[in-house]
């Protein structure tokens, strides 16, 4: 900046000289006037350039600052618990070897809806939105496929249409939640680093940074994100990050009466999750999109999107 100022000063001095000689005529000769005009214009342009480049360099400073804070998970939580920020600084959290995974066994799920209630209570999910939900797929003998949303009261509660079992070829329940993609589109599109990945591979939202543009909501192929009307931030399933960092199970997993939801460490070959994934064929949703979800399913067919 000082260098630029010195250039400006030198030019200002040079402005009164023509061809190396200083004009003494106070009323101003043509050459002198031209020189003054040139000088004035040059000063203006240089000042403008200094302001523009100065502003640009100022905007770059916080960029690097922002990137630094991203590496520190203590800087952000997903909005459901302020405690997450403190948990992020534990030794466990900084263990880069930890990779969490999730398995949903649709052959076990009975559509009880207990996971839905547990999630809503645990994460204070507003009415009309869902961090997790359960779909009932019914394949009829005539080839039709019917999909319904299981109410929180479960399959035996009100809300699900009654179906004649004689018409049904097969039926199953599909719990849905965040896929925690390795190549998460929601993370990619977030313009302000509010969507970030924890060291354990969990996609989180920084409630202090989110501008509520909803680009991440549009980018998620699984409909897992929403704008929380109470916080005005993007909101999503975090696999109960605040719980799993305390070596607890996610609320939905704990509430499931039939162990249809399995949460665990992918990096530990002895974990139940790793063992089951190794033993049973599993699938991911919308594989063709290349998002590489860490949520895997047992027993789903191509109709499930």
């Amino acid at each position: 900046m000082n260098y630029e100022l010195s250039i400006l000063n030198n030019d200002a001095e040079r402005g009164t000289s023509v061809n190396g000689t200083t004009c003494q005529n106070r009323s101003g000769c043509d050459g002198c006037r031209e020189a003054e005009e040139t000088s004035s214009r040059r000063r203006f342009l240089q000042k403008a350039t200094t302001i523009v480049f100065g502003s640009l360099s100022l905007t770059l400073l916080p960029v690097s600052a922002g990137e630094q804070t991203d590496d520190n998970p203590a800087d952000g939580s997903d909005g459901d618990s302020e405690n997450q920020a403190n948990l992020g600084s534990t030794d466990h959290n900084n263990d880069a070897e930890v990779v969490f995974g999730f398995l949903v066994d649709t052959e076990k799920c009975i559509g009880s809806g207990k996971c839905l209630t547990a999630c809503r209570i645990e994460n204070d999910v507003p009415e009309g939105f869902a961090r997790t939900w359960v779909e009932r797929f019914v394949h009829f003998k005539d080839g039709r496929v019917q999909v319904d949303l299981v109410p929180e009261t479960g399959f035996s509660g009100s809300g699900l249409p009654t179906i004649d079992p004689d018409d049904v070829e097969r039926a199953y329940f599909v719990p849905k939640l965040c896929n925690q993609c390795v190549d998460a589109p929601c993370n990619q599109v977030c313009p302000v680093h509010a969507a970030f990945t924890s060291p354990e591979g969990v996609e989180l939202v920084d409630p202090e940074r989110c501008i509520g543009c909803a680009y991440c909501v549009q980018a998620c192929p699984y409909g897992a994100r929403f704008i929380n009307p109470e916080t005005n931030n993007a909101d999503k399933c975090t696999w109960c990050y605040h719980r799993i960092m305390r070596d607890e199970q996610p609320a939905c997993v704990e509430a499931c009466p039939v162990d249809a939801r399995v949460f665990g460490r992918l990096d530990d070959p002895t974990s139940e999750l790793s063992r089951r994934i190794a033993e049973i064929p599993t699938h991911v949703l919308k594989e063709h999109l290349g998002t590489h979800p860490k949520l895997r399913y047992v027993g789903i067919s191509s109709e499930v999107t």
Binding site: S40, R41, V192, R209, I211, G212, V217, Q218, R225
Partner: protein
Amino acid sequence: MGESSFVFPNDLHAPWSIMIVLYPYITGLVAGAFVVSALYHVFHQDVLKPVARLALVTALCFCAFATTPLLLHLHHPERAFNIMITPSVTSAMAGFGFIYNFYMLLLAVEVWLVFRPDIVERANSRTGLVGLFYRVLSLGTREITPGARAVDEWLIRALAIVGIPAACVLHGYVGFLFGAIKANPWWSTALMPVVFLVSAVVSGIAALIVLYLFLCWRRRVAPDADCVRALSRYLWISLTVAVSLEMLELVHMGYESGAEWHILSTLIREQLAVSYGLVQLLIGSVGPFVILLFAIRPRLNPRMMTFCSGLASVLVLVQVLAMRWNVVVGGQLFSKSFRGFVEYTVPIGGREGWIAAGVVMTLPLAALFVAGKLLPLWTDCEHATQRADQPKPDGPLVRHGTTMTILELHQTSDTIAKEKTIT
């Protein structure tokens, strides 16, 4: 295979509202209007001189309010500057702040340079607060010698040259925002940025024709027929390219008939039947195409030509708005389950309602009105085509501060006589 309707629970709420429809509409008008001014400043299309200043100021006024719908849409508008303070390099949206500010700066500087002689003249002649305003606006440089103007002209041309790719980036980028969302088959196409870009040019030219004709009518001055015809010709060409690309995109989707075509075809046939089939394609594309084809015939009566051009331009503006609606809202009318549809209705009030949308679209026009009061939007060559039935000015006609020559006055009389004969 028959399928029931099913919507993911979070898809019931369309997160992008009418404000996100208006945002690309406004930036499109900016980019298009700038392209018209560049045609004059860079490609020396002198026939566009009557609208060259209007084009630049229109671009600036709309650009100044391009962020308004975004701020109304953001759930945390107070954090809007995060997009420039902590931008994510992987996000297409993060480029917005930089692209927008660069373009806004470029436009502001170019407008200032174009109007500098007028600003300086007023700074020197006016007194009081008005004089102070122009003196501040002159930024301390009051040289309007031929040498200084030569430098200005060089800078104007240079900025216009830089501005063309900048305008392309500004609006192509908006299309990219949608085209890069692989989760949405209605948006995810490489053609999207190109379609947005060309339709931006279309909307900018159409807006200029409408504004020019309206302002001529308000000033009781006959519009420059050659200029309107040239603009109509550009509009017809760009409209043809834009609609062709839009159709190419649709035909390509249908011909491929990918996994999601069943939901997209239903979307087009049912949910978007009116806004896409009727408004965008029939009224907004076929209509202006035919009308403009008629309007640009060289021997057409100037009054009929301007009427047809104006009508076609209004329809084109509706077409582009419908296109933005069909892309932005249409892409949110089906669930990512690809099994069901949702409804979106614009509320009357609220931050993202009809009234707010009306205000957003009025603000740039209000700014244009104010700009028209502060700066001379019209080059004096238009006096040459002053309506014959209007009373002639008492004093000598003035062009750029100099009295018109006898020869020019003769030419003016000839032009008026010619117009009389034609009409």
